[in-house]
């Protein structure tokens, strides 16, 4: 294990030195860029919000033993559905209906993966990867075609009116704090309590921990798999909604720079409790925000993705070790 961690660090330092950048200097830049000033912190929190909600979505599926790699596609569908509703029904009604539409769209986009897993035992990772690609093409086609704002050259929708957007809690640019973060925290609390306090949550985790034992406990594994996949999709859809309503104010091609993948890392790092999603998403938020500062320092942003990959590997290996020492 030590070997793996040392190896990961060595690889990272090696990459940096090979390319003529100073590892320590880059770390300082990264931390300054993400936590150094109030504006930086507010930017980090902005990056954290979608990762928090998406991470929660992936976490919930993970508790049922499912790898929802499809969070990316569900996010896109949620975002596009919400935008579509809000462009037609501006104001508070659109905000509510749009959120609902986004959650439903996310759930529906997860449904095929859930069905194939439950009834055909097709691996959800493969189906969700496929669905992600289809989602990218579908939303791109929508935003380049029927939903495109004719006044714009690039594939994007028109801006939403201020009334249909999530309010700022604190708004003195460049320091801004959106109510979206609060919403994410509330969702986290709900999921954590639901898993702990309800029989349905107990059953979902039983299926994730041991499908055989769950079956003998009278639990309908297929229904749980289906429900978990769709709930996860709905939360991912809400993450897309929040991204549009709180930060972007419109939908455009490439609205997600790969949040879905980062969310898997967040969920894996979170450990056994939904509360763990909060620090994990914050860590990823720091890397995302700090990565942009690195770029100004002429260190390509890709290095943070490498760091994420290594974190995921080490976290997963540590997890295995923990399980194996219990036995």
């Amino acid at each position: 294990m030590v070997l793996l961690i040392v190896g990961a660090l060595a690889l990272l330092a090696g990459l940096m030195i090979l390319s003529g950048a100073s590892p320590l200097g880059s770390l300082v830049t990264l931390l300054k860029g993400s936590l150094g000033t109030p504006a930086a912190i507010s930017g980090t929190l902005r990056e954290t919000t979608p990762l928090l909600i998406l991470g929660l979505a992936v976490f919930l599926a993970l508790r049922a033993g499912l790898f929802n790699i499809g969070a990316e596609g569900q996010f896109l569908l949620g975002a596009v559905a919400c935008t579509w509703v809000n462009l037609r029904i501006p104001g508070f009604g659109g905000l509510i209906l749009g959120t609902l539409a986004g959650a439903i769209a996310g759930a529906l986009w997860a449904l095929p993966a859930g069905l194939i897993k439950a009834y055909r035992n097709g691996h959800e990772v493969i189906t969700t990867i496929m669905l992600n690609s289809v989602a990218v093409y579908l939303t791109t086609a929508l935003v380049a075609g029927p939903m495109k704002d004719p006044k714009q050259d690039s594939p994007t929708t028109a801006d939403l009116v201020a009334g249909s957007r999530l309010p700022w809690l604190y708004d003195h640019a460049p320091v801004q704090l959106s109510s979206a973060l609060l919403l994410g925290l509330i969702l986290t609390a709900l999921v954590a309590l639901w898993l702990r306090k309800t029989v349905a949550g107990y059953e979902l985790q039983a299926v994730g921990a041991s499908p055989g034992a769950a079956k003998y406990a009278g639990i309908d594994n297929r229904r749980v798999v289906l429900a978990a996949m769709c709930s996860s999709g709905a939360i991912a859809g809400i993450a897309g909604v929040v991204q549009v309503l709180a930060y972007e104010g419109r939908f455009y091609a490439g609205i997600s720079p790969g949040y879905g993948f980062d969310a898997l890392g967040v969920a894996l790092l979170a450990g056994g409790s939904a509360w763990g999603v909060i620090p994990a998403s914050l860590l990823f938020g720091v890397l995302a925000k700090g990565g942009t500062s690195l770029q100004l320092d002429e260190v390509p942003k890709g290095i943070t993705t490498v760091v994420l990959g290594l974190i995921i590997l080490v976290a997963a290996a540590l997890r295995y070790r923990k399980v194996s020492t219990d036995v």
Binding site: V199, A206, D220
Partner: protein, 499 residues
């Protein structure tokens, strides 16, 4: 093999066991379940190493095999209880795997050689067919050919006849004797004494991980061997009187199966027109060799597999279409076969495990919400029932030994106001004391008006503890006639379908 000791955690599976086997003989290793037979053989085959002791082969080389690969290289082959046939490969591919004889496969000459070996043994195979199409007997035969293919000098057969018909078993032993006469050494692990008496030349008895005796078969008889296997103390103890005496009251029917047909995993009819009645107060034992349809019977009663035809009545109510959770609500409780996969979640705490299967019943939950304090009390009660040794109810189940996990699982089923208990090998992993306790508790529930069905592959355990015994064979249930209802041999005949 000299002074072999093997410990699993706190349990000593083998305690300074010696075993000498002369070449060119059929040597039997006998003992009860858990006597250490299989463990000893696995050490010989290099599945794991011994904690103490040495293994010595004829060429005087002392070797401790670290992997099966080493053992195979030294000319040792094993046919284990769980078949080593890979269903996705063809029969020929299975045969040659691991001993292909070159980087490029010479299919034609391999087939010729395989055919020669098969003919010598009187077997027949379609070599290019998938092994998944083989019957249990066919798979067993292929396993034996695998040993011949590798020219194994020492062959270990672990319960080879468990799934074979009497005719197939006889044929198997004939070929084994033939091989022995040609110089091969065959070690037979079994708990069927007639096999030993009829076919083997020497026999070693193990009990509780200790070597009891090694004898020439000619110098002993089945009765004396049985006494050695069981041990004098428990052999002299009479079976509990209340087991043989009719139970206090036979009440209303708790379970009725009417012409039940259930499909097995391979699509065949695993249960064929099964009819069975179990009444309140009754403790029914189901005898049979592994794979006779017991698993499908249990799963269909629990509602985990669908019935293809026929009816299941629980407490007089047609429950054929009832969901598993609703059957639990009717008072159905299970002690599943595979503790690790079906009964507990090892990463979860004892408290969380105590609610498994009962999670939707009062007081463990009300209106869909978990009642954690009720669950804590319940877990303490379950653990206390059979003296489960644990370091705290918040600790993971995986921190308990297998026997203690089994106590917990049995306690959970028996204490939760069962109406019908389904127990699959409930004594697995338990010592004699624990086994007696569990059966006593089940009987107590039956006397209070519940019913119980116990599946075991150990006929003696059933004869000792059950009110009534039926035998399963190839998906059918056979009732012994009234005057043979506790006759070991009669039930044994039913188990292998020799009606």
């Amino acid at each position: 093999m000299t002074g072999i000791t093997k410990r699993f955690g706190a349990v000593t599976a083998l305690d300074r066991v010696d075993l000498q086997v002369a070449s060119g003989t059929l040597h039997a290793v006998v003992g009860e379940n858990g006597a250490g037979k299989t463990t000893l053989m696995r050490i010989l085959y290099g599945v794991f190493g011994p904690d103490e002791g040495t293994v010595k082969l004829s060429n005087d080389q002392v070797r401790s095999f670290k992997t099966s690969r080493d053992a195979i290289a030294a000319g040792i082959g094993m046919v284990s209880q769980h078949y080593g046939i890979i269903p996705a490969l063809s029969c020929l591919q299975n045969l040659i795997l691991g001993a292909e004889g070159g980087a490029i496969l010479d299919i034609r000459s391999a087939e010729t050689r395989a055919q020669t070996l098969a003919t010598r043994m009187g077997f027949e195979f379609d070599w290019h067919q998938d092994a998944s199409t083989l019957s249990p007997a066919g798979a067993q035969k292929l396993e034996i050919l695998k040993l011949l293919w590798r020219e194994a000098k020492i062959m270990i057969l672990d319960e080879p006849t468990a799934m074979l018909s009497p005719a197939d078993s006889d044929a198997l032993f004939q070929s084994m004797r033939k091989l022995a006469s040609e110089g091969a050494t065959v070690i037979l692990v079994t708990h069927r004494l007639p096999e030993v008496m009829d076919h083997c030349s020497r026999v070693t008895v193990l009990r509780g991980g200790k070597l009891i005796e090694t004898k020439d078969v000619a110098d002993t008889d089945a009765k004396r061997l049985a006494a050695l296997i069981i041990g004098s103390s428990s052999a002299s103890a009479a079976p509990p009187s209340d087991a043989i005496a009719p139970p206090a009251e036979i009440g209303a029917p708790m379970l009725e199966l009417k012409d039940l047909v259930v499909r097995g995993v391979r699509g065949e009819d695993a249960l064929k027109q099964v009819n069975l009645n179990v009444r309140a107060g009754e403790l029914l034992g189901i005898a049979g060799v592994d794979g006779s349809g017991q698993r499908e019977l249990f799963q269909s009663i629990l509602g985990l597999v669908r019935a293809k035809e026929g009816q299941i009545l629980l407490g007089g109510q047609d429950s054929t279409k009832l969901k598993a959770i609703d059957r639990i609500r009717l008072g159905l409780r299970a002690i599943p076969e595979d503790r690790h996969e079906e009964a507990v979640i090892e990463e979860w705490s004892l408290e969380q495990n105590s609610a498994l299967g009962l999670q939707r019943l009062e007081p463990l939950s009300t209106k869909g919400l978990v009642n954690t304090s009720a669950r804590a009390d319940w877990a303490a009660k379950v653990a206390a029932k059979f003296n489960t040794k644990h370091g705290g109810l918040k600790l993971p189940m995986g921190s308990l030994s297998g026997g203690n996990q089994q106590r917990f699982v049995a306690g959970r089923a028996i204490e939760s106001q069962p109406k019908l208990i389904l127990a699959f090998q409930p004594a697995r992993g338990l010592d004699i004391r624990g086994t007696a306790d569990v059966y006593a508790a089940i009987r107590e529930r039956c006397r209070e008006g519940a019913a119980a069905i116990v599946v075991s592959f150990d006929l003696d355990e059933l004869i000792e503890n059950c009110d009534r015994i039926v035998a399963m064979n190839h998906g059918r249930i056979h009732q012994p006639s009234a005057n043979e209802s506790r006759d070991r041999d009669a039930i044994g005949r039913l188990m292998v379908g020799a009606v």
